[in-house]
Amino acid sequence: MSEGRYLRPQRLDEAVDALKGGGWNLVAGGTDHYPARVVEQRPEDILDLTGLTDLRGIGEFPDHFRIGALTRWTDLIEAPLPGWFDGLKQAAREVGGVQIQNRGTIAGNLCNASPAADGVPALLSLDASVELASAGGVRILPLADFILGNRKTARRPHELMTAILTPKPARPARARFLKLGARRYLVISIVMVAGLLEVEEGRVAGARLAVGSCSAGAQRLPALEAALTGQPADAGLAMLATPEHLAGLSPIDDIRADAGYRRDAALILVRRCLADLGGLR
């Protein structure tokens, strides 16, 4: 039985060079990695990314923010960011407890690609992209194209996520994140909803909403987004959301809730989110 390899590169070029051969399991915060191995460990090749310290931190650029792949949830919570990051910050506070937020990385949440990943809906509502590096160069993929399903992503075995890119909204924007679980905190989501509204002259100029835990991967609600555009930005937005707008979701029955409940609750959370966003200032 092989013991498995372990490598902790200090520089990005070393990391992508090592990845050329493929077959590595990548570990950053380890908060998904270790719990998955409590019951059974198998020999595996571990590429420990924690030495790539340049990848930690959030930078502002003229038209976007760049969240380094090793940025932790707590880093995000504590960073001085514009108000339209509030939804992502609210999601960050729901990722496990504070210890998890201190270790877990935002990129790890995306690469792990759990249907219940708390970071995904908020980043979808921010229209985020991910940056993937390999020895052959860098490519950028919209987040919606990166997450392909339950624990499936478009990351190729020789690629490493290096950053998450969030474009600056063209107009003043507000954002929210709501989560429903079987208890108040420290709980895997039954349903979550993230929303961002761009508002101009009292009307919705752009809307992005995403629902998590109700499909293999979190999903945007394009029909609803279209219906919201041009409407007065007030609490009345809530009642524009209809069951049909959520028809694209495919919730499942599991021990946390059944599909019917998830479908109902998703609509309620979408409405709450809209009431909340519309009612702001």
Binding site: M1, P35, V38, V39, E40, Q41, L180, A182, R183, R184, Y185, L186, V187, I188, I255, A257, D258, Y261, D264, A265, I268, L269
Partner: protein, 737 residues
């Protein structure tokens, strides 16, 4: 010299009230608190010797059958592996509380999914875990095993001595003006102590020392010796610090026996710590219950009949069964009574004691039924309970030792502003939240268990208490020091209490809420013995001796204790045994719970807004540690009401949610401000301390107050706990449809 008492009758003399040190009844901090919060208190695994090997238990992955073979050679070839223990003495499941003998042993016959069947021992923990996971097992499974108590093919026992009937309940139900006839279910629960079960075993010749995490050392010592086939005197168990027990550490567990066998085989110390998943799978669960409750009341709401019939489960061959109806025979009046108790034999993990076995779930269902009777009769729930308090135990026709349920109900109603409650459900709305108030009675039987303690008055005037009693987070160190300090006139920093070592006199152990009262009485008696010896030295009688601040005061003389002791020390032992008082009077503790909830009218989420518990448990030895016990119990009640539920795979009975991510204990954000009020009471029938048990009273019916509040908020009656949001939203939708 030993001072002994057998509790055959009331003890009128209140010894503690005669003392003047004024430490008893004070909300004192735990003397070991700083050690615990700074990580300096050594729990079992903190005692790891440098040369210890590590063992990891291997589990069965069938629910019934036979272990035919395991591929030992392949694992032995792995790095670091020292042994694979598959001895016939391995335990099938932990011993039940106070068994004093080994439970069923042998790893070949599989009775449940998760049963420990081998121990892989290696030089490091990681090597042992790897070996345990790599060990290939071959089972011959019996695919017809019954894994659910409601399986029509389940073998159901109806023990004759656990059925009781007086009068004619069926007739009473027919003639009664108001009735309730309903089934209530509670799911399995686990204790979920923060410190997982762990043992380190070390042999010196034929003598075994075990560092463990256990609640009842004198019983554990007998169980461990019996399991290994050695004499009790060859075994010493130490458990000075225990990170919570709640019943899960009453009896010796599989990890202790496995560690001892491995340490013997290898000649080195062996440590075995369970993972959280193993704690879920191979330690006790509280049985799920199905309870059929019938209440019959007259026009004024006075109960004329009560029926309480329960179905619980356990493994084949286990004597324990959840005593669901324990408080029903004496809590309320009613001439026509039926008590029923049935046990389904199922291949799930072993059922045993989890905090307040019996009342925790049994009284919860009964108190939901009482709320249904209140709704059916239009009588206020507090008043309904007040008018049904019996004058004496209605089933045994014996008096109560003391009884403060009425005071607890009235005090609670006053403090909670119960008179502001709207009796019609769904009447109070706050945005999308429906607001409701509910309440329930609390009751728990009171027990006294044989216990011994030794107290030494040292030559320097300090005191030392020694007993194999445990402090499982409850405050034993604190209250025993308080009793000794009060009795010997010593400030708290002059008293040291040493616990958790079978080398000390055998105590009751921690369980059934009886620890502080039972073992505290032994300490009080030991101090009485020392006081007697001091009187002899001072040539005075007991009445003439006052002890305070390290001095004896006799007449107009005040003498420092070291002066009296003159270089010597005085040793006293105390020994208490239960006696006829148990049959002469009904002893119990009582209380009340009040809860206010907000239920979201749209999603069905329940948020507890505030909660109050009012309790009477005789003399309160330390209001701070007592209050903490009540807070913990009520928090258990919040979990029982809203979130906690063991989920078993219907195919093989294995526990699906075997960690804290999916077994939903309430988190801080689920627990609002809880207020606890402790009533002033003395119970001279209980023991010379006049104190009763309080460790479990806070959970006995607590969940009902929340479920009843949900009814008041919404009109939805949840009879199948926990009251999760999906159950509530079903009701909300069917009401609006």
């Amino acid at each position: 010299m030993t001072s002994h008492i057998k509790m055959d009758e009331r003890v009128e003399r209140d010894r503690l009230a005669e003392m003047v040190q004024a430490v008893i009844g004070k909300p004192l901090d735990r003397p070991e608190g700083a050690l615990k919060v700074s990580g300096a208190a050594p729990y079992a695994m903190d005692r790891l010797p440098a040369n210890a090997c590590h063992g990891v238990l291997v589990r069965a992955t069938v629910s019934n059958g036979t272990l035919r073979d395991m591929d030992v050679d392949a694992v032995q070839a792995l790095p670091g592996i020292r042994a694979i223990i598959a001895d016939d003495r391995l335990l099938r499941n932990p011993a039940q509380g106070m068994a004093g003998e080994a439970p069923i042993q042998g790893p070949k016959d599989i009775a449940y999914f998760g049963q420990p069947i081998a121990l892989v021992v290696a030089e490091t923990f990681e090597q042992a875990r790897h070996g345990a996971q790599a060990l290939k097992l071959r089972f011959e499974a019996d695919g017809t095993a019954i894994v659910a108590p409601d399986d029509p093919k389940a073998d159901i026992e109806t023990p004759e001595d656990e059925q009781d009937s007086t009068g004619d309940l069926d007739a009473a139900m027919q003639t009664a003006r108001h009735t309730v006839d309903a089934h209530y279910t509670t799911p399995g629960h686990v204790s979920a102590a923060m410190e997982p079960h762990a043992s380190i075993a070390e042999w010196n010749g034929d003598r075994l020392t075990l560092y463990g995490s256990y609640q009842m050392l004198r019983f554990n010592r007998a169980e461990l010796a019996d399991a290994l086939g050695i004499e009790e005197k060859q075994v010493r168990i130490l458990a000075p610090y225990v990170g919570g027990g709640f019943g899960s550490k009453l009896g010796i567990g599989p990890e202790a026996v496995a560690a001892a066998l491995a340490a013997k085989a290898l000649g080195v110390p062996v440590a075995v710590a369970m993972s959280r998943q193993q704690v879920f799978e191979s330690v006790m669960r509280r049985s799920e219950t199905d309870q059929h409750i019938r209440l019959a009341a007259d026009e004024q709401g006075r109960l004329i009949g009560i029926g309480h019939e329960a179905l619980v489960s356990n493994l084949p061959g286990e004597e324990f069964s959840e005593p669901v109806t324990q408080a029903t025979p004496f809590l309320y009046q009613g001439d026509h009574r039926v008590i029923g108790h049935r046990i389904a034999r199922v291949h799930r993990t072993c059922a045993g004691s989890v905090r307040a076995p019996g009342e925790a779930v049994g009284l919860t269902a009964l108190e939901i039924a009482l709320d249904e009777l209140a709704a059916a009769s239009g009588i206020d729930p507090v008043k309904l309970r007040l008018i049904n308090i019996p004058q004496k135990d209605p089933s045994q026709d014996i008096p109560f030792s003391s009884h403060m349920l009425a005071e607890a109900l009235e005090e609670g109603a006053k403090r909670f502003d119960w008179d502001r409650r709207r009796s019609e459900p769904g009447a109070v709305r706050d945005g999308e939240w429906l607001i409701g108030m509910g309440m329930a009675s609390a009751a728990r039987v009171n027990m006294l268990i044989e216990s011994k303690a030794r107290v030494t008055l040292n030559a320097n005037g300090t005191g030392t208490v020694e007993t194999d009693m445990t402090d499982i987070g409850t405050g034993t160190y604190t209250v025993l020091s308080q009793i000794a300090g009060e009795m010997l006139g010593l400030p708290m920093d002059s008293v040291e209490t040493l616990l958790g070592d079978t080398a000390y006199p055998p105590a009751s152990g921690s369980g059934g809420s009886f620890g502080a009262a039972s073992n505290g009485t032994a300490v009080l008696l030991a101090c009485e013995e020392i006081r007697q010896q001091l009187c002899e030295r001072l040539d005075c009688d007991m009445q003439g001796l006052t002890l305070k601040d390290g001095h004896a005061i006799v007449g107009n003389r005040r003498i420092a204790l070291p002066e009296i002791l003159d270089g010597s020390r005085l040793v006293g032992e105390g020994h208490v045994e239960p006696g006829k008082a148990e049959e002469t009077v009904r002893q119990a503790t009582y209380g009340s719970y009040f809860a206010e909830v907000a239920v979201n009218a749209i999603t069905g989420e329940t948020r507890l807004r505030r909660m109050l518990g009012v309790f009477a448990a005789g003399r309160i030895l330390n209001p701070k540690t007592a209050r903490s016990q009540c807070l913990g119990g009520m928090t258990f009640g919040i979990g029982m009401a809203l979130t906690e539920e063991l989920i078993h795979d219907p195919r093989d009975g294995h526990i699906v949610n075997r960690d804290f991510a999916e077994y939903h204990l309430p988190v801080n954000a689920d627990v609002p401000q809880i207020d606890v009020v402790l009533l002033d009471e003395r119970d001279a029938w209980a023991n010379p301390l006049q104190a009763k048990g309080i460790g479990e009273l806070g959970i006995c019916g607590a969940a009902a107050s929340i479920v009843n509040a949900i009814y008041n908020a919404t009109g939805i009656r949840i009879r199948d706990l926990p009251a999760t949001l999906d159950k509530i939203i079903d009701g909300l939708q069917s009401r609006t449809d």
